[in-house]
Amino acid sequence: MSFNVLIVDDSHSMRSVIKKIIAISGFKMDQCYEAGNGKQALEILSKTWVDVILSDLNMPEMNGMELLSALKGDNLLQEIPVIIVSTEGSDERRNLVLKMGAKQFIKKPFSPEHVRKILYEVIGVGDDGTYEGNERGDESSDF
């Protein structure tokens, strides 16, 4: 089982780092899509399905909070688990994005191990690529 990932961050270097961490973590990645803001992310999502989104909050044009709202307002896209990766680490902000539908919150700076652990929790995939099921997967699939 391999997964499509969408990384949303206005920093090209941060997108590359996250992509590299996912690649070396044993996570079976099929396609990795990249967007520089929420608007570009929605354009990608209008054409293709992804299994998980990792998104920054502070971005030009359309920020991460606006992206979360847009996803929540779409019957299909609201099913995609979103992990927020941000420098903004206040308890209030964290609680707000979780309330808005994000599955997890990773604060920058992060360690590769932490990103891997959160991905495992959200998608339910181990180091060997074995799918271990999560809420959505348990209901909709039997792999």
Binding site: D10, S11, H12, S13, M14, S16, V17, K20, N58, M59, P60, S86, T87, E88, G89, S90, D91, E92, R93, K107, K108, P109, F110, S111
Partner: protein
């Protein structure tokens, strides 16, 4: 003031050690040659601007260690992006160390080339460090 200095120092160390694998020591930088920097504004219970200052050598090491590219493969865009992201992370980390319970809004960081060097103004906080990979400085100015 002491609290701000400590929070800023801890944020800088954390970001550089975890993301760029660079380890700093305190340094008096009156002769430092910073060639670039990045500024980011924040708004919330405190308002102000953080500016980080980086030597050419350090900027290249940051790109090298973060992205795994070196030499001629390092483009100006990589350097700019890397320095801006460092300002973003340090500012966010600094503010959450000051008060984890308060929400701050951060601006999009700006990249600045400093061909004439850096001129110090009135700052609430000024820190400088050296490493085997080059020099780093940070200034914080608060607005009423």
């Amino acid at each position: 003031m002491k609290e701000m200095n400590e929070a800023m120092r801890a944020a800088i160390f954390d970001v550089f050690e975890r993301m760029y694998y660079v380890f700093f020591e305190p340094f008096h930088d009156e002769y430092a040659e910073y060639t670039m920097g990045s500024s980011i504004k924040f708004d919330g219970p405190l308002r102000g601007e953080l500016m980080i200052l980086v030597s050419e050598e350090l900027a290249k090491v940051m790109v090298q260690n973060l992205l795994g590219i070196e030499g001629e493969d390092i483009k100006e865009q990589d350097i700019e992006d890397c320095v801006k992201e460092a300002a973003n992370m340090i500012c966010g980390d600094f503010l959450s160390r000051l008060d984890q319970t308060k929400v701050f809004d951060l601006s999009i960081p700006l990249f600045i080339r400093l061909p004439g060097g850096f001129r110090e103004g009135n700052r609430a906080c000024r820190l400088s460090f050296d490493s085997e990979n080059g020099m780093f400085g940070a200034t914080l100015s608060l607005t009423e």
